[in-house]
């Protein structure tokens, strides 16, 4: 790798001061599993990295409260996977993490990094969006709240300023939610997916009151599909309703082609997988 400077601040506030609002070559690094790949591939040449590994311990941990879970941004994906609080609140997250990369990567990669990196193929963002998660974002003038669904603007792009850091992720209570995440890997089973679909339903048996449906990987960013959500809301689920929701999703998603599939292939995948994900959510049992 190309040499760079490394800063290791002891606090989040100090880390923010070391970041540069106008310099894209100065970047924060958490677990580093994604950035290391980009640096080794020669597509990212930082002049300075600000390591978050030594900031306050309170940013690595999961706290359960009345209104849900607060997850420090430096919490590793393994810690989240093994958290009994997480499994109780939203078992869909636990299930999703089991097929996210491999144990070694999950031991190092962080929740904040999995969001800030904004690679549309990542598994956690669509699930967090479906569950209505939000973030606390720290910057030079304090903290602000942002819904995860409002974070992404495009491939590797977010609304975060270059001197802002995700401090905490909040997953609200999921009383009665039934949720599922499905991904389609067209290479090996643990390859990046060609499609990810996350669904979170409020339902009474087969009757769906409301739905949050999120697509990832087939698009340039993880995003909700309001047409598919509307096709499901207030309906008793059967093949006809699922076909209608799949059709709406296929028409509204903005697909991108890559080595894992063409636009037409991904459109067909989504058309089919909306139904499969909804059925998986209904069968998963309420949270």
């Amino acid at each position: 790798m190309i040499p760079f400077e490394l800063a290791e601040p002891k606090s989040l506030t100090e880390a923010i001061k070391l970041l540069a609002p106008d310099d894209a070559m100065v970047r924060p690094i958490a677990g580093g599993t994604a950035l290391m790949l980009m640096m080794k591939a020669g597509v990212f040449h930082p002049t300075r990295l600000v390591s978050l590994g030594k900031i306050e311990k309170k940013y690595s941990g999961i706290a359960a409260g009345k209104d849900g879970l607060r997850i420090g941004a430096m919490t590793t994906l393994s810690a989240l996977e093994q958290s009994l609080d997480m499994k109780k609140l939203a078992p869909v997250i636990t299930r999703t993490l089991r097929t996210l990369s491999n144990v070694r990567v999950r031991n190092v990669a962080t929740v904040g990094g999995a969001l800030a990196h904004a690679d549309p193929h990542m598994d956690l963002p669509p699930v967090l969006i479906a569950l209505g998660a939000s973030m606390s974002i720290a910057g030079p003038s304090g903290e602000r709240e942002l819904a995860v669904e409002d974070l992404f603007t495009g491939y590797y792009e977010t609304v975060l300023q270059k001197n802002e850091l995700i401090a905490e992720v909040r997953v609200p209570s999921q009383d009665g939610t039934r949720a599922a995440y499905m991904k389609v890997t067209t290479g090996s089973a643990d390859d990046w997916p060609a499609l990810g679909v996350a669904v979170a339903l409020q339902s009474d048996g087969n009757a769906v009151k409301s739905a949050r449906v999120v697509v990832s990987a087939a698009t340039s960013k993880a995003m909700r599909l309001p047409g598919a959500e509307a096709a499901l809301a207030g309906q008793r689920i059967d093949d006809k309703i699922l076909a209608r929701a799949g059709e709406a999703a296929a028409n509204e998603a903005d697909f991108i082609a890559d080595v894992r599939g063409s636009v037409s292939y991904k459109r067909e995948l989504l058309r089919v997988y909306i139904g499969r994900a909804v059925r998986a959510a209904l069968e998963s049992g309420a949270h």
């Binding site: 040499p3 390591s51 144990v103 643990d190």
Partner: protein, 160 residues
């Protein structure tokens, strides 16, 4: 760029190294300590040949900045046969013939040890789950799974 000094425990012994910020853990082990058991193969965290245990948890050495080792306990394959006796997992790999060329073997053994630490009596699904991020191009997978089960038995016998 400025070198810095890090202190950590390597296979049980306290050590110090002067490193550059852009060096990864595999480079650190190979160039400063002559340890070649962790080797970079795919370079992307997929194959597991660079597996190292940091504070008891398996990491991909090729994707891990060496500076982050400061203050930790590092175990490599070279540290498993303390006192000249093979670790139960190493014995089990030998006894079941769980390798051909052996290039991936250190990574499999370290990863499988983390598995047994978490799940002392793993079923096939747990074994496959933990080892899904380790690739054996000789395809010794059936024997590797046998080896993990044998090692689980050996560890129980030792503990009993």
């Amino acid at each position: 760029m400025t070198a810095r000094t890090i202190h950590f425990t390597l296979n049980g012994a306290p050590v110090t190294a002067d490193i550059k910020p852009h060096h990864n853990l595999v480079e650190l082990l190979q160039t400063h300590f002559g340890l070649t058991g962790a080797r970079e193969s795919c370079g992307q965290g997929l194959c597991g040949c660079c597996t190292v245990l940091v504070d008891g948890r398996a990491v991909s050495g090729c994707l891990f900045l060496a500076v982050r080792i400061d203050g930790t306990e590092v175990v490599t394959i070279e540290g498993l046969d303390a006192g000249g006796k093979l670790n139960p997992m190493q014995e089990a790999f030998v006894e079941t013939g769980a390798f051909q060329c052996g290039y991936c073997t250190p990574g499999f053994i370290l990863m499988a040890n983390q598995l047994l630490d978490a799940h002392p009596d793993p079923d096939d699904d747990q074994i496959r789950h933990y080892l899904s991020g380790n690739l054996c191009r000789c395809a010794a997978y059936p024997q590797i799974i046998d080896a993990v089960k044998l090692a689980a038995k050996k560890r129980k016998t030792i503990a009993a």
